[in-house]
């Protein structure tokens, strides 16, 4: 009987985890900055950079950007240019 219980995920663990998560949810001052960091890195910075990159008209800047792509490994370059890597 006791052997059987030990092979299952123990219920007290869930109680402890749930209590901690509830406390975390209530601590807005703790998780708000973390969410801001996550939003910054996953949404704001990529959006900004991709929009900037999509609207480049300056020839010099476009050349510098293609140099960046040129510094990537060959397989990646081929993939980025839409051809199959060998």
């Amino acid at each position: 009987m006791s052997r059987r219980t030990s092979t299952r995920l123990p219920r007290p663990s869930w109680v402890i985890a749930r209590t901690d998560l509830r406390q975390l949810m209530q601590a807005r001052d703790f998780w708000m900055p973390l969410m801001v960091v996550a939003l910054l890195f996953f949404v704001i910075i990529p959006t900004f950079l991709l929009l900037i990159l999509g609207s480049v008209k300056d020839a010099n800047l476009a050349k510098k950007l293609s140099d960046v792509v040129g510094s990537l490994p060959k397989e990646v370059q081929a993939h980025a240019h839409g051809t199959r890597a060998r």
Partner: protein, 194 residues
Amino acid sequence: MSASYALAVYLFAPLAIIVPLTVSSAVGAHTIVGERERGSGEFLSHSPATERQIYLGKLMASLIPGYFTAAMGFLLYSLVVNLIVGPKLGGWFFPTTNWWILMCWVLPPFIALALAVILAISARVSSAAAAQQASALATLPLIVIAYGVSSGTLFRGAGSAFVIGGLAWCGAIFALWRASKAVSRERLLGMGAA
């Protein structure tokens, strides 16, 4: 166009690992030492839960925010990339296969590995501030490794990503098993803390 594609698919990959690691380490650093500081460690140490169950509970409470951040961040990032770059490439193309492998196979063990170190530290130190400092120091090398691994995963292809993920899982399981020994009733009461 290839610059946009390269940026979206290859150069932002490290962020996918660093942000969830940061979130998990911030939560994990407080989880055990926080009980002592709040005075609730005594209740926990006298509860019928075994030390292993307490450790598992604390581990889940730290892992879930990290995995949640990773999942939500991945979803939002996919939307951003597909909405901005997708129309120029003829449709939605993201996530690529390598990104799926990175997020589902490579990232989870790295978060677990970092948390194993952090929970062991959190059980041993005497204050939340000390736990925060020590865990930042301990996870910094992991973040650097994760940075390199995430880039390598996308650059080298699926085969090496599976190998890297497999090795990371082995390391994470070993580290979690070792860290489970750091949580004891004495430490929850504040005895044996550094």
